[in-house]
């Protein structure tokens, strides 16, 4: 018998954890001599009360949806993919190569080609750790951490020695050709007298992310493969009994996970920077962990958590802009969210379970 009803597990536990994280964050803000209420108002104001604020919030959320889904898919197969960052970096490389070296006639084709390349590169970067886990039992957490660093070094090499335009100061590729620039929300929704989303980076990739949510939901809960991935995640011995190959599932799940992480690059490189810069992933790979944890590995949850983190990111940038609160506050909040919804989950869960067991007994 479950100790707790499903809704409590899916909503109540993360909510309480989140409140705890928020409470501690408020304490931190107080400790550095600022007013948490004002800070929160400022964040809401900057992130949600203006269309360009939304433009940033949604831009960040798009990144986090992809990396969150990536972590979630792997989690379903009980694989902890901590390598989203590296996979996103490689995804960026794939997207950059596709944009720079293929003459796309129109953005609609470029986004397909770029997405394909980004996903393929991200997936390939996940393939090696996946293979080593499946075939040689190398702990995927450690290998993916290592691959994050190797990816950073690789991108560094490629940008500095191969793709950097001569004479350029920055380790970044040349700007992508005009035809690969994705329409931003401003392009799509702004009118002459109503400059919606002006200057904000949210772009058509957001819809790609929504599609990815739907596809991942279908994949995990509606397809045979998803059935097998979840089976493997719940019980590897049972999966083997049913003729589900652990090697295959490990590799396929990680390929999908790496591909999703790689897709993040479509948003960050093609949608925003319109070139590949050195830290294009900007830590979104790690935030994906928090997003997946909070979203309970469900696409709807991931979407909500990604929006929350998008809000935190944009709101944090506003804070840094108008107050003395450094942007690192967001890193702290993020850490607290991961800590409470992930590692200290049981701190909330155990008393709740007791409560429910007692209530049922009564």
């Amino acid at each position: 018998m479950d100790k707790m009803p499903a809704w409590a597990d899916a909503v109540l536990v993360p909510l309480i954890s989140l409140l705890l994280a928020a409470f501690l964050s408020a304490l931190v803000i107080l400790a550095i001599g600022e007013n948490p209420v004002d800070a929160f108002k400022l964040m809401v104001d900057g992130a949600l009360m203006r269309s360009s604020g939304w433009g940033y919030t949604l831009y960040y959320a798009t990144n986090f949806i992809f990396t969150g889904l990536a972590v979630a898919v792997a989690f379903h197969a009980r694989l902890f993919n901590i390598g989203g960052e590296g996979q996103a970096v490689l995804g960026g490389l794939g997207a950059a190569l596709a944009c720079l070296f293929i003459p796309w006639p129109h953005w609609s084709l470029a986004i397909i080609g770029g997405a394909f390349a980004a996903a393929a590169f991200g997936a390939l970067w996940a393939l090696i750790p996946a293979y080593l886990q499946a075939k040689r039992g190398s702990h995927i957490v450690i290998t993916t951490i290592m691959f994050n660093f190797i990816a950073a070094a690789l991108l560094n090499y490629v940008l500095v020695n191969l793709l950097k335009p001569a004479g350029s100061m920055e380790p970044a590729t040349a700007n992508f050709p005009e035809a690969t620039h994705l329409p931003s929300f401003q392009d799509m929704f702004a009118t002459a007298d109503n400059p919606l989303f002006r200057g904000s980076p949210a772009n058509v990739t957001f819809f790609l992310a929504l599609i990815a949510c739907v596809l991942v939901w279908l994949l995990i809960w509606r397809t045979r493969l998803g059935y097998e991935i979840r089976a493997q995640g719940h019980s590897e011995t049972a999966a083997r009994y049913a003729g589900i190959s652990p090697v295959r599932i490990t590799i396929v799940a990680m390929l999908i996970s790496g591909g999703l992480a790689g897709l993040m690059a479509v948003n960050a490189t093609m949608g925003e920077a319109e070139r590949l810069v050195i830290n294009a992933a900007e830590g979104a790979g790690f935030i994906g962990i928090a997003v997946a944890l909070m979203g309970r590995n469900h696409p709807v949850g991931v979407l909500m958590a990604a929006l929350l983190f998008g809000f935190l990111y944009q709101g944090g940038a506003e804070l840094a802009l108008w107050t003395n609160i450094p942007r690192e506050l967001i890193v702290v909040i993020q850490a607290l969210v991961i800590l409470f919804t992930g590692a200290l989950d049981n701190m909330v869960r155990m008393p709740l379970e007791k409560l429910f067991v007692k209530r049922r007994a009564a």
């Binding site: 397809t223 045979r224 059935y227 719940h234 019980s235 049972a238 083997r240 009994y241 049913a242 003729g243």
Partner: protein, 515 residues
């Protein structure tokens, strides 16, 4: 020694794991210098009770008296100080430590190891001589056989000068010879005045060695009786709560064509141990072949190989068609496609995904079938309907296919697995421990289903540790020992004693049984 004060007395012990009430208000007295048996079905709460006595779990309520003194046992340290030693069902040894290191762990003398090690070496030598408990003190645990590992566990307890020794299902993993050896040791210990609690499922052992016996059922203590004043039949009844009638109505078998031909099947497990050492047998349509044997003699490996999730060499033919034994086409789904169904021994870790709903579990292994697909997606409506039918026909309770498998009781979980495998109408059905932990009512139903399948002309390979079940169902019995088949017997022409000898590896049964 005071013979009127119990060595151990438990009063009103209760323990719940979340919603599961493992022990309910249990009281028990064990006299010093006796061997006290505890029996009960799987999950009855035996291990839980003993673990509480040993300080491994904390009781929710109840009191413990050692030699008449009320004693608090909040952790194992307290139990050890009170003179209690325990050999767990699952050994608690550090695999890559030496025997010596395992023995001194937690009972070291002083902060440095040197002294402790040399002292333990001496004591171990003494104990080995005293109780025939010799093990190489410098061997690594992972290199020892289970029997020897068990000796280390006993040595650990004796090294700590335990007066009360608890053994939880010690013979489950032992060969009959090893079990006999163990019982001799227990006899010696009793003779020295030590008190022993022995948990076992085997009534024979209870009758053979214990002085008193307690019976547990569903977390409750149903009776405590003097062994000399009871009988196996009475104990069995106490255990399950009603008269046990392990006879199945069935017509004589009418074996048909050879469906499965197995030749020289060999299998080496992950640890490099050869589990199957050249198995050959035939299975005919319309017969039930029962495989008897002590746990750990290769029956599980046989089912796993035939079920397609362990690699092997040799030859297996289904209706004359060679089946691949490793590589592509040798996995579980290929076997199912070929017409081999499989009810695995362990429903929790193999047969079911406990977190999946009943309807998801009802197609587990067959989830790739075309009938469950609709385009790229799975056809959930079809699967649900299918599952509802199975649940109704097999009388699974509660009849709610949206409930997670973990929320069904053991017997009903088993029915879900059986329904799934039997309704497929496989040509060959592999069944492992069909009624482990299942109540009597369900056992009868399950047995009927198995016999019905046989009567429909299917071939059934049955593995069970319960000899009664083997006798009740089988048309032919094969006995396995140490990865080999010791012989085939007709159930009508053999008895438990002969099978027991075969299970112990004695082939010359006629002589042995007469001599």
């Amino acid at each position: 020694m005071n013979d009127t004060v119990p060595a151990i007395e438990l009063k009103g012990i209760s323990k719940a794991f979340g919603p599961v009430q493992a022990n309910k208000d249990i009281s028990i007295r064990v006299m010093p210098g006796t061997i006290h048996g505890i029996i009960g079905e799987n999950g009855a709460g035996k291990s839980t009770l003993m673990s509480i006595l040993y300080g491994f779990y904390k009781a929710d309520a109840g009191e413990i008296y050692i030699s008449g003194r009320k004693t608090d046992i909040p952790d194992s340290q307290a139990a050890i100080s009170a003179g209690i030693g325990m050999v767990f069902q699952h050994f608690k040894l550090v695999q890559n430590f030496t025997v010596l290191e395992n023995v001194i762990l937690g009972a070291e003398e002083g902060g440095l190891l040197n002294n402790s090690l040399s002292k333990a070496r001496k004591v171990l030598k003494q104990l080995a001589e005293e109780y025939e408990l010799s093990v190489d003190p410098d061997a690594l645990i992972e290199d020892l056989s289970v029997g020897h590992q068990q000796r280390v566990e006993i040595l650990k307890a004796l090294y700590r000068q335990a007066d009360i020794l608890i053994l939880d299902e010690p013979t489950g993993v032992l060969t009959p010879a090893e079990a006999d050896h163990l019982f001799r040791i227990l006899d010696n210990l009793r003779a020295e005045g030590k008190t022993i609690i022995l948990i076992t499922h085997k009534l024979r052992e209870i009758m053979e060695i214990t002085d008193t016996v307690s019976v547990m059922r569903r977390g409750e203590m149903t009776a405590t009786v003097k062994t000399s004043e009871t009988s196996p039949e009475e104990l069995a009844e106490l255990m399950v709560g009603r008269k046990v009638l392990l006879r199945v109505d069935k017509k004589p078998a009418t074996p048909g064509e050879k469906l499965l031909e197995i030749k020289d099947l060999r299998h080496v497990d992950d640890h490099g141990v050869e589990r199957l050492k050249g198995i050959s047998l035939d299975l005919r349509a319309g017969e039930i072949l029962g495989i008897a044997g002590v746990a750990g003699n290769g029956q599980s490996a046989l089912l796993e190989v035939l079920g397609g999730y362990a690699d092997a060499t040799g030859s297996v033919k289904l209706r004359g068609q060679e089946l691949p034994l490793s590589g592509p086409g040798s996995d579980g789904s290929a076997r199912r496609e070929a017409g081999i169904g499989h009810v695995p021994e362990d429903r929790h870790h193999e047969g079911l995904i406990l977190d999946y709903t009943a309807w998801e579990n009802a197609i587990f292994g067959y989830h790739r079938d075309a009938q469950y697909q609709k385009g790229l997606l799975m056809d959930h409506d079809a699967i649900r309907k299918d599952a509802e039918g199975k649940i109704e026909r097999f009388d699974v309770r509660p009849a709610n296919c949206n409930l997670a498998a973990k929320n069904f009781s053991g017997g009903n979980q088993q029915k879900i697995v059986l329904a799934r495998e039997i309704e497929r109408n496989p040509d060959v059905l592999l069944i492992g421990q069909p009624t482990r932990g299942v109540d009597i009512g369900a056992i009868e139903f399950i047995h009927q289903q198995i016999v019905r399948l046989r009567d429909e002309g299917k071939a059934i390979l049955l593995v069970s540790v319960e000899l009664d079940e083997i006798f009740a169902l089988s048309d032919r019995i094969a006995v396995m020992f140490d990865g080999q088949i010791m012989g085939f017997r007709d159930p009508a022409e053999t008895d438990q004693r002969e099978l027991g000898l075969l299970m112990a590896g004695v082939t010359n049964t006629k002589e042995a049984s007469h001599g």
